[in-house]
Amino acid sequence: MSDNLDISHVARLARLKLSEEEAAEFTPQLQTIISHIDSLSELDVSGVEPSAHSSPVFAIPRLDEPGVSLSQESLEQIAPAFTQEQVRVPRVVES
């Protein structure tokens, strides 16, 4: 399957803008790794249930009780851009 690796497609999905040098460096490395992980294909896993976790822990919601949360001031201090009590980002919707 490693021959099918289209690194620019995967980088786009991952929201990474790779340089040409990085793409050239990573492609053979990832192909080698993918060839290795392909060894799982020799195992017959029919009838085996997948495990997302090692223990039977599933999302356990907390009680819906109001509590103290992070303050806007503390978030403003770490936000790259903050205006009018909101995180500012480039325009998302075309005018």
């Binding site: 980088a11 929201r15 790779l18 976790h53 480039p90």
Partner: protein, 475 residues
Amino acid sequence: MLNTKTITDLKEGYSKGDFTPADVVKTLDKSIEEKDGEINAFISRDTEQALEAASKADTSLPLGGVPIAIKDNINVIGEPCTCASQFLKGAYKAPYNATIINKLLAAGAIPFGRANLDEFAMGSSTENSSFHKTKNPHDLSRIPGGSSGGSAACVGGDLAIAALGSDTGGSIRQPASHCGVVGFKPSYGRVSRYGLVAFASSLDQIGPLTKSVTDAALLTNVLAGHDPMDSTSLKIETPDFTQGINDGVAGKKIGVPKEYMDGDLHPAVKEAVQSAIKALEKEGAEIVEVSLPHTKYCVPTYYILAPAEASSNLSRFDGVRYGNRSTDVTDVLSMYENSREEGFGSEVKRRILLGTYVLSSGYYDAYYIKAQKVRTLIMQDFTKVFQVVDAIIAPVSPDPARKIGENDGDPLKEYLADIFTIAANLAGIPAISVPCGTASVDGKELPIGLQVLGPYLEDQTVFQVARAWEALYQD
């Protein structure tokens, strides 16, 4: 020298009035000044703050006045938490405490020093830190292991009494092994992950790196316990992990997996583990050869699941709410792509790409779901073995610490060395690394670790067997 002492020593010294927490912080600060220019275990430290905490320390508390170094992927309010990444460097100060930091503070501990790591805990050498490479205190030309390499090197180099690390595929145990200290990964769900920057959520656990097994148990007593802020945190009682720790191994059945001992092991590692086996047998343990038939599939399974989870977890680093935002931005997409391109190092990018690939349309079932099924088989291997034995002993790493730069450009070679530590994370079971000898290489004595693995939630058994070996080794 106060910097060489254990937590147990400090507690005794404080109670007798031999020295004070401030004396310990000052001694550590001095040894960091003297030695960390070479070892580079730390990213930052705030000595003034630690001294202030030391002056107010209540030494009657379980960890009263004990300085603990913190891996720099754990949030401490008001402090940077860089994850050794350019993405978070300078731009981020934690707006909250990780639950385990609150627990440490409540127990009287003094967080002191932020330990270096592989960027976002991805690596086994601490060479992937975007700040500096940490050196092995036993041989400065070699790696300390990773990803908690800074935590292991500061304890091994006597720049800290104890440290916290995180272990996703061996990131506490392998550096502990390379630096000659004790490193413990608790059962999954014992210790809250809230405030630990997530790498692979189904595998990550926080744990201690210490100078003795008893110290590791003492720290785990404080770290463990249910946390409503972490939905994978177990709602179970926390035992006293020091209880029964000195009870020895007489009558215990200990398994030795043939797949581990028959593998490609450095002769000194094999010899050290075999002599530990013989010594434990002499103490009355029954040694049983066991089989973990899916061992060879651990690395491929892990390097599907961990990058898959990482690619999802690291999508939060998008330049919107915190961390790096590129100045080269024309629209939202370029903000994401350029902020991430600038902020992440090579290994993080490789793993995000790999994780994205195995989760992408057309490959999801063949890789991700398949790996989850093999994870079930790996877990079943352990379940079967633990029906027969109380604990397993094994090597931690196939080789002593390698030279810095030796695996540059060959990530697969690096991944394959994780073979003995990954299984405990996939199965969620507790495991510890405890010193068990040295290998003479190039005129240096390089530490070797012995791994003890126990059944899920049988953390106490792991401490007990590890302590039995430690007592024999120290004699």
